[in-house]
Subunit: 135 residues, 2 copies
């Protein structure tokens, strides 16, 4: 590996992509909640995120266990209501995550300028590559 | 739910966040490969993504099974070499994924302007919420 490449070690590791936040459904939940600092009731969150009751409950539990959200159960006109809101810690971790996500998008935008994949490997002959399988 | 909110149904579902690509390690692998259309050898990819042999192998298999990358085994100066490159289909799916990821970042940037979470729920009193638990 060249010196330039060694300096790139871990360049695309994206350690900051916190798996608790990065999971697709939870990313939607947190993005909804960060835009509603007063909180959202369970039903509205479910609609916004296109999740089933069971799925949303499961992901909310993960987020609450991680301290990213607070869940408050109460009543609205005598009907049970579950209110979810992002915690101050959750907001900070979301912002930290977002910085890394923005870096991914910048890297991706820069990388895709490198041009489309070619049918063959231009350096295959010189590297003596033997084609065994392709997708 | 208000009409405005009904129109927001699935607004944060992010269906286009293809789970094969979204997984953190695979996102790093694909971002590396999309920037190297001629392909990368296993060792370089491992360094760039900060992955172990086993982890990288496992993720490469998932990506190959999904048709996103092609793996070619050959030799370089009589040493076995595994070359990985993104396929045309993989590149297109990555670009489609990237569009959704950019939307997430835009949503997040817009949402975080809503201001930090507050300690209490400003509408808790009027909604008659009873505080049961917090994270």
């Amino acid at each position: 590996m060249s010196k330039a490449k060694r300096e790139q070690t871990g360049r695309f590791a994206y350690e900051g992509l916190d798996r608790v936040i990065h999971e697709k459904a939870r990313l939607g939940v947190l993005t909804s909640l960060v835009g509603h600092p007063k909180g959202l009731v369970f039903g509205d969150l479910k609609e916004l995120c296109g999740l089933t009751d069971g799925n949303l409950s499961r992901h909310l539990q993960v987020l609450e266990d991680a301290g990213l959200i607070a869940i408050e159960k109460g009543y609205d006109h005598n009907r049970p209501q579950t209110m979810c809101r992002i915690t101050a810690n959750g907001r900070q971790r979301y912002l930290d995550y977002l910085k890394v996500l923005e870096q991914v998008v910048r890297d991706a935008a820069s990388a895709t300028k490198a041009g489309p994949a070619r049918d063959g490997l231009p350096n295959a002959a010189s590297a003596g590559l033997r084609r065994l399988k392709t997708a």
